[in-house]
Amino acid sequence: MTNWPLILSISKTHLLTKIKQTTIASLGVTFGIGSYITLVCFMTGLNAMLDDLILNQTPHIHVYNEIEPSEKQPVDLYDAFKNSFNVVHSIKPKLSQKKIHNALPIIDYLNEDDRVMGALPQVKTQIFYIAGSIEIGGNLTGINPLDEARFFRMGDYIVDGSSEALHNSDNGILLGIGIAKKMSLKVGDRVQVSPISGGVFSLKIVGFYQSGIADLDAIQSFTNLKTVQRILGETNNYITDISVKLHNIEDAVPLSKKIEQQFDLKAVDIKTANAQFETGTTIRNLITYAVSITLLIVAGFGIYNILNMLIYEKMNDIAILKATGFSGKDVQFIFMSQAMIIGFVGGILGLLIGYGLTSLIDTIPFKTEALPTIETYPINMNPLFFVIGFTFALVSTFLAGYLPSKKSKKIDPVKIIRRQ
């Protein structure tokens, strides 16, 4: 039977009489945990921001009609040349329509799939922005502004304006900020656009679009689906692209394959489209954890060291405790509990310091062209990190305390007493 109040009171006395050592040992844990929390919150915040930069704007699956050569050329269909080696020079892509055939039923079908969060229609077309006699080439994409804002956080990339404004306006345009600068336009002005097929349409600027990628911002603008369809002189089932957002990004590859097979369309999943981006995320996470664990291990060795010294100093105490009837286990618990108290106090302080530092970083201004809505350094203050940090503080102090305390358990009091 272990008498915990007694053991704790002894370790309390030991810790308080050696308050300097105790403080230093606790500070080791505190700094370890504090910097772990800071680092992890900051790094994952940055990671999330960089992920968002790509993930938010990119559909998990992008469905469209690819212009490409037919896989089976006419010569392949001719039986007479079946067993011969055919060489076809100067292959041309097959003429096909840009619009997705039966797009609206396909969208309905995709929206019913459990894995799909939302499937949104888009109309993409090339246009010219007309400024007097100058024509600037560009892209115009017709969208459902509210859905885009909901699923792809369109709102984060709109400056001076909103997706609602676009939704409410029949001939509004969300102009790329690069074009707006070139043409010295501001919100409320009108801009003339001309599709390739000819004709000039005057659209009212309801806001600016800034993706953070300058080349894109210099050509890309958005309007309502209906507006583009009217400019192109097409009916409301003219859809060129479908953006699919999934609940789980892992479903992207199988679902895109299925869409390609089922509808005879091109479906590109996000992993294929952004293979290099995922590698970056993985490596950044790896570095974050490697550094954090190193910090915590260093703190652990500090505790190990101090506890080891403490036990050497307390050799006489150990002998006398054992001689007066404390068992080896009692003595081990005395030193174990000291380690755990150091870990507990240091861990709590570390959490506070980590919280303070991250809160501080969260207020430091951070302006970037890439993300117009970001004002300060991104911080991901996930409670899980605090739980992990505190758990690690306890586990590492337990391990650091275990070995020295095990030694104290085995110390033979006779040897100590006779040595005098």
């Binding site: 006398i320 054992k322 007066t324 009837g325 080896g328």
Partner: protein, 224 residues
């Protein structure tokens, strides 16, 4: 008269650096209320014998009986409990926990035993300190008091659980003659008035002469 402590055919070897037969067939017993001293030259094995009797050293052959119960080959935890309840120690070097107050030092074994409430233990400890005339030191840290005082605190600590036997390893070896005499008188009183059994290893012939019985050791044997 009942036997408190009995040793039967105790043999012990030191295996390092070379095999050495340090205790050779030790047989003796201590009765209740008896004051026994063990004398002998340095290296004759008297301290070794004391540590075997104290149950701290378990590496021996033979049988050891406390209150007529065999305690050889018990588990270490059980032996700790036996030491706690039945055996009190006084060493040559005073061996107090220097970070604790005198009162806490005295109370510690009783807290470990946990048979009484904190208030009772504190009361008992103060009684023991009063008996040894050092109650005024109760609140002082153990490293702040003099050698003779420390030894009396150690005696108070040995007494706190009302043990069956008190063992001393040269308890007066490090004290001046005045304090030695003082400690001896305390032992004597405990033996005569409280009926406590005492087993003391000593070099001090004057001290030994005044005890009930002297065991003389030579080359690992008890010769008288």
């Amino acid at each position: 008269m009942s036997t408190v402590l009995e040793a039967r055919h105790i043999n012990k070897y030191f295996k390092k650096p070379i095999l050495f037969h340090v205790l050779r067939d030790i047989n003796f017993s201590v009765n209740k209320g008896e004051f026994v001293s063990i004398m002998g030259k340095s290296g004759c094995g008297k301290s070794t014998l004391l540590y075997v009797l104290s149950t701290m050293d378990t590496d021996y052959e033979g049988g050891l009986y406390l209150n007529d119960k065999l305690i050889t080959n018990q588990s270490r935890d059980h032996l700790s409990a036996i030491r706690n309840k039945h055996i009190g120690f006084v060493f040559q070097f005073h061996y107090l926990l220097s970070d604790f107050t005198v009162l806490e030092n005295v109370m510690l074994p009783a807290k470990k035993l946990a048979e009484k409430s904190y208030q009772e233990i504190e009361h008992d400890a103060m009684e023991k300190l009063k008996m040894l005339k050092i109650e005024h030191l109760a609140k002082k840290k153990a490293f702040r008091i003099s050698g003779g005082e420390k030894q009396r605190v150690a005696i108070a600590r040995a007494l706190i659980n009302n043990p069956a036997v008190i063992m001393g390893d040269e308890p007066t070896g490090n004290l001046d003659s005045h304090n030695s005499e003082n400690v001896f008188q305390i032992f004597k009183t405990l033996s005569e008035d409280e009926g406590l059994s005492l087993l003391v290893v000593t070099h001090d012939e004057d001290f030994a002469k005044q005890t009930n019985r002297i065991l003389t050791m030579e080359d690992g044997r008890i010769i008288s």
